[in-house]
């Protein structure tokens, strides 16, 4: 497998990249912090990814960086068949309500720009030597239902999930498998300090399940898997209940 990862120097992306590295897949890392990327690249090489693991600067807040970064990856890997996007911003609803600029950045990063990045990636996956491949993108269970603690973040992720669903419907027949990952609460650097609810997952268990989803081409995967059932209930709750509960 030849995989390009956006956001692999932290959290769940780091965990996925390590599993790919351990089985010897060729990797290329994209991210906005060049020194951090280089350190992560060395980490993955030591863990089994064929050296050199290349890196390129790609900032989710600057769509102009997307195409050049993917071109660089294509060149170094001589084409790729998998793209994994774990990058994204997170802030609490309170922070976002109090800071419209932060809200604008988060909405742009988690929806518009992630979609634009996926468009660039999709084009290259479909026209590449493999004629298809896998586009695995981390959305969130926050997009499943409008909920009080994640009104804005959830809205961005809802849009992203819908986009990925559409991609899967349109391009699966042409060989492009879209995997939409919907993590519930996962204990990462992004969620430190928040009180973990029941069924909180670790990046490692998320990564193991995501690998399965990538290998089998599941269009949608909840991690940890208990969240499938949690969200199944939440989606069916009537509005008068959603207005009352704080979840």
């Amino acid at each position: 497998m030849k995989a390009v990862l956006l956001g692999a120097s932290k959290g769940m992306g780091r965990a996925v990249a390590r599993l790919l590295a351990a089985r010897g897949d060729r990797l290329f890392l994209l991210g906005d912090h060049v020194e951090e990327l280089a350190k992560s690249a060395r980490d993955l090489e030591i863990r089994g990814a064929p050296a050199p693991v290349g890196t390129a600067c790609c900032d989710l807040l600057q769509p102009a960086t997307f195409a050049p970064a993917l071109d660089q990856a294509q060149q170094q890997l001589d084409g790729f068949d998998t793209v994994v996007v774990t990058a994204g911003l997170f802030a609490t609803q309170e922070q976002l309500e109090n800071d419209p600029q932060l809200a604008a950045r988060l909405l742009a990063a988690d929806f518009t720009n992630t979609v634009l990045f996926c468009e660039e990636a999709r084009e290259r996956l479909l026209t590449g030597t493999e004629k298809g491949g896998t586009l695995c993108v981390f959305s969130s269970v926050a997009g499943e239902r409008g909920r009080k603690p994640v009104v804005l973040y959830g809205a961005a992720k809802a849009g992203l999930s819908r986009y990925l669903e559409g991609l899967d419907h349109k391009f699966r027949a042409r060989g492009l498998k879209t995997v939409c990952v919907k993590p519930g609460f996962v204990q990462t650097g992004m969620t430190v300090g928040l009180k973990p609810p029941p069924f909180a997952g670790t990046p490692e268990e998320v990564a193991r399940r995501v690998m399965k989803a990538i290998d089998r081409g599941w269009p949608e995967v909840y991690v940890p898997s208990a969240w499938r059932w949690v969200m199944c209930v939440i989606r069916r709750l009537p509005r008068f209940v959603m207005r009352r509960i704080e979840f």
């Binding site: 959290g11 951090e36 060395r42 030591i46 300090g193």
Partner: protein, 446 residues
């Protein structure tokens, strides 16, 4: 966005004392170390070593900084971030034929903590402490600079950092020497031993032929059987002795809840110790052993510290100089048993020469470690009496395990303390980096 500290209960492995403190946690350890008063890894030191001096002083949790940064397969030199766990190092390197030069008795320690405690293991008599194999350490020192120190550069800082309990600066990265191994399996031999003299003699003899030795002692046996136990010896198995497949990850079990205090009566301890001793019914056993069972027998039980209940527990570990009649060790065990001490585990190990860490624990002699539950009145009194005995016999204690030692006792057993504090003053005149333990024992301001 700069990270905000969050409130969290902070405690060592003994679950006493507990601080409702502030924690910073991020992959970017260099960033969070700028505002933290202390770094902590997996929190496996028993007492207050990894606790902040005051509840409102933030502590940096290093465990997300776990990347391997450089490995040279020709020389075996490895550079990694301080938060990487020994579990992870073993998972990556064991099957490739490499092992850490020195391993403590649990894999749930972070690399930074291995340096800060200058950990020792079953091979101390031949290989010394972990610090002997460290080439350089990258530290965030108190004035905010990032300093690389080694024997060639800033030697005073380097040597104070080995075994320096994280008090010289925030350990960010460590470069050390890995060791090639012939196979990932252990060839081990264990022997049932009748008493303390036989144990001491057995350790001494075994040290000549075996690179790894340790003794487990039934710490409730008295009189003629005082010091009886099991002597374990091991070496890395040769490829022709070992199974072809690499050792699988051992299934782990979790202690599901905090045990009630009653579970720890004298009878249950006695039963455990008796069973452990007589389980080894044959005099000698030999064979290939899973490396995890050999190095980390207790790691199979996650959260085993919950067994000690609400009040928590402590470990007392000291090293006592050798004596032909094993007098110091005998007096120590007798005092422990008669002083109302009781424990599941007592581990005995002969130490090699003192290392280069300025405050490193081991020195030639017999190291004895025992766990026991905390009693609010009896435990401090027992630790006082044990410390008085250790001082009289010229021994010293291991800070990583300590919760109750008084400053005057520590000073009496640590003539090296002034030199260590002098290095700290040079790099950190205001004691910005300090812990609850350094306030208790090293005279830092609260």
């Amino acid at each position: 966005m700069p990270q905000q500290p969050y409130r969290s209960q902070i405690a060592g492995w003994g679950r006493f004392p507990v601080v409702d403190g502030l924690v910073l946690k991020s992959e970017n350890l260099a960033a969070i170390s700028e505002t933290a008063s202390l770094s902590r890894g997996l929190g496996r030191s028993y007492g207050d070593s990894s606790l902040p001096a005051r509840a409102d002083f933030p502590v940096a949790d290093t465990t997300l900084a776990d990347r391997l940064l450089a490995f040279d397969p020709a020389s075996g030199s490895l550079r990694a971030e301080a938060g990487v766990s020994l579990l992870e190092l073993n998972r990556v390197f064991l099957r490739r034929g490499w092992f850490v030069p020195v391993s403590p008795g649990t894999q749930f320690v972070a690399l930074g903590g291995m340096v800060a405690s200058d950990v020792h293991g079953k091979n101390h008599h031949v290989d010394g402490c972990f610090g002997e194999h460290v080439r350089s350490v990258r530290l965030r020192v108190a004035d905010g600079r990032i300093v690389d120190c080694s024997d060639a550069s800033e030697q005073d800082l380097f040597r104070a950092t080995l075994g320096g309990m994280g008090l010289t600066g925030h350990i960010l990265e460590v470069e050390f020497q890995m060791r090639p191994i012939p196979s990932p399996w252990i060839w081990g031999e264990s022997e049932r031993i009748d008493n303390l003299d036989a144990m001491a003699a057995g350790l001494k003899t075994a040290a000549r032929d075996w690179p790894m030795t340790v003794g487990w002692v039934d710490c409730l046996a008295r009189g003629a059987t005082l010091g009886r136990g099991i002597l374990m010896k091991g070496r890395w198995a040769q490829p022709n002795e070992a199974p072809q497949k690499p050792p699988s990850l051992k299934r782990r079990f979790r202690v599901p809840f905090q045990f009630p205090g009653i579970a720890l009566c004298k009878a249950s301890m006695k039963a455990f110790n008796l069973a452990y001793y007589w389980k080894h019914i044959q005099r000698v056993r030999r064979g290939v052993v899973h490396p995890d069972s050999f190095f980390y027998p207790l790691d199979i039980l996650d959260d085993w510290n919950l067994i000690y209940g609400r009040r928590g527990f402590t470990q007392y570990q000291c090293v006592l100089p050798h004596a032909d009649d094993n007098g110091p060790a005998r007096r120590f065990l007798e005092l422990f048993v008669s002083g109302g001490g009781m424990g599941f585990l007592c581990v005995i190990k002969d130490c090699g020469p003192q290392g280069k860490g300025m405050l490193s624990f081991p020195k030639p002699g017999m190291s004895i470690a025992m766990d026991f539950p905390i009693h609010p009145v009896k435990t401090p009194a027992l630790v006082d009496r044990l410390n008085e005995l250790v001082i009289a016999d010229g021994g010293r204690i291991y800070l990583t395990k300590d919760t109750f030692t008084r400053p005057e006792h520590f000073r009496a057993m640590e003539p090296r303390m002034d030199a260590f504090n002098a290095v700290r003053r040079k790099w950190d005149p205001q004691s910005r980096i300090r812990s609850a333990q350094s306030v208790r024992l090293l005279g830092d301001p609260a």
